[in-house]
């Protein structure tokens, strides 16, 4: 571990994993935590429990704002364990001088998104700190969900499963980066920020055999695939041209030198579904508006265990690595 915490330690990739395992897991070590799922499964498998903090800048961006994000983030972590989000806490740290009107706007979008999930905020806390102590507003939400389908786990993926995504990837990261950097372009690019519980519920209701689900937030789809490859001790082989990427996102990647698979998402998840049910899962997902491009992107093999392999349409193969470092542009 480095002597000081760098921004790279919060990237959702390698440095982030190191920080978590060497500092937090070391201190808090217990059986539930070590499962490394999106949400902890507690109370005899009946409840899912998760927390998340939100520090996005800018606070308002195309497609969503920090309020919607704060609800989606925690509710999606619960949904990824097959749970229905029920009760949330909401804790905010506000910088002195923040405009009340903006705060109200943020809270309104939180309320709207809670309704989508059928969840309620039952506990909260407010702190105001002197100017400069936080960047405008930080929000933490913690949620409890009722597990509708037991046994979903990132530790059980096998060669019987296929790998799917629910929509085109990378929209949130591309939107935030281009807004933050003031890159002006004519495009319809907006964050994919959305609550995923309705999609998960539809899959459960259709009786789909779900092995694992994970929302591809920081670190993007490549982080999820690499985590799964390690957790389930498998090799995931993905066909590059099957991964849905919108023209807008691939344009941003082109300009800034990113890979779409490493960009953050807030309404995109990766699914490991039993082969026999994969096509049916796609049909179910496609009934949702943002999921027109839901598709199977890869399979599980034993070729290079704990690794993710990307296959090109001309037959070459390479690793798809866990993202590392700060998101930086290339220089030439």
């Amino acid at each position: 571990m480095n002597k000081t915490i760098s921004l790279a330690c919060g990237n959702g990739g390698e440095e982030n994993n190191e920080l978590i395992s060497k500092v937090f897991y070391k201190a808090f070590k217990n059986e539930i935590l070590e499962k490394s799922e999106d949400a902890a499964i507690i109370h005899n498998g009946e409840l899912a429990f998760s927390t998340d903090s939100f520090t996005v800048s800018p606070l308002f961006f195309p497609g969503a704002d920090i309020g919607k994000l704060a609800i989606c983030g925690t509710c999606n972590d619960l949904a990824m364990m097959g749970a229905k989000p029920k009760y949330l806490s909401c804790s905010v740290i506000i910088e002195e001088g923040f405009e009340t009107r903006e705060l109200e706007k943020i809270v309104r979008s939180m309320k709207k998104e809670l309704e989508v999930n059928g969840a309620i905020v039952v506990s909260g806390d407010t702190k105001v700190v002197p100017r400069g102590s936080v960047d405008k507003i930080f929000i933490n939400t913690t949620g409890i969900g009722e597990v509708l389908k037991k046994g979903i786990s990132s530790n059980n993926i096998s060669e019987d499963d296929l790998i799917l995504v629910n929509r085109d990837i990378g929209c949130h990261g591309a939107t935030i980066f281009s807004t933050r950097e003031g890159i002006e372009m004519t495009s319809n690019l907006e964050s994919d920020c959305a609550s995923l519980f309705p999609q998960v519920k539809a899959l459960i209701d259709a009786g789909i055999h779900i092995t694992a689900l994970r929302d591809a937030t920081r670190g993007g789809v490549s982080a999820v695939l690499n985590e799964w490859a390690k957790q389930s001790n498998i090799c995931i082989e993905v066909e590059e041209d099957k991964i849905p990427v919108s023209d807008e996102v691939s344009g941003i990647c082109e300009i800034l030198g990113f890979e779409a698979a490493a960009l953050a998402n807030e309404g995109t998840f990766v699914l490991a579904i039993n082969k026999d049910d994969a096509n049916r899962a796609i049909e179910v997902l496609k009934t949702f508006e943002p999921c027109a491009n839901a598709t199977i992107i890869g399979k599980v093999t034993d070729e290079h265990k704990q690794k993710v392999i990307l296959k090109s349409s001309w037959g070459t193969k390479r690793f798809l690595d866990t993202p590392s470092g700060e998101l930086l542009p290339r220089i030439c």
Partner: protein
Amino acid sequence: MSLELKNLYDDFRDGETIKAFAKIINEDSKKLKSPINIMEVCGGHTHTIMKYGIPQLLPKNIKFIHGPGCPVCIMPKERIDHAYVLSMHENVILVTLGDMIKVPGSNGSLQDARAKGADVRFVYSPLDCIKIAKENPNSKLIFFAIGFETTTPMTAALLDTVIKRDIKNIFFHINHVTVPEVMKELIDSRDVHVDSYNNKIDAFLGPSHVSVISGSKIYEEFPRDYNRPVVVAGFEPVDVMQAISMIVKQFIENRCELEVEYKRLVNYDGNIKAQDLINKYFEKADLFKWRGLGNIVNSGLKLKEVYKDYDAEIIYKDVLPLEEIEDHKLCICGDILRGMANPPECTIFGTACKPTTPIGSCMVSSEGSCAAYYKYGNLI
């Protein structure tokens, strides 16, 4: 229909076209009298080659030697230390491009300096410095300028604007280098080592973006005086495959020429306006120390004497460290930058030296060969 970004690259990543070139190259290669080693000078090409798995498509008698064309990788620790010291100086905002902030010097990287409170920023375009300087009138902005011929005109344009608008708080630390000089050095120095390594450079892939600025003319001497063909190539996989095919054809037809694959933007003379701007403000520095390669004559640029009031190396010379710094003993970045070793031959590759904890510069920048090998793996 409007032109979209993807129209510019879609055709150049087409799987069928790539396969077709692979077929031609494999057929033609049977007529080669001896194996050929092609050096792609630029880290951007190394990245394309590894990302698109191009070696997997080539016959055994065609190999790549990865060159030193990554401006971050070749930056010696001495100059990174300059950036670090300047960034920690009171009232200074240090601005640079992308990956530069990750490279460790002897005290740490610019990222570490930032974590300790220094104001370090990266920009996409050097002209963004003007806005930063304007917003911080009481600070001194030092632009730590890096890069080959491609990025030099942007630094010149920034200085041009600074002078024309009489902006008082922007200064320059110049680390611009040029491609042909290092290519010559690699050919010349290799003759000493060539027996032990047995990997002669038979031909060069020239980076297209350098020639967009400088024209293809800068490589004229290589086929003429050094008997090495040069093909100026774009950065998409189809570009690289086509350029390799052009090189192979030169060998089987007994030609040795300068050719341009990237005809969509490169011509013989290049961008004269940009060249004039560079010549107005810069002149050759006698020596520039390259990491792993040592001092190379005439390979760097510096500000002309008349612009010394903008030169941070002169203004801050009392605080800038001067001592020479040795590279890490186990690191073979020098040999890798010379194209004499491949990253996996290094004993610390992927173990002690990883993108998260880079020891050598080739692991730091995403354009570096070690980073490209680590990231994309070697699945042949």
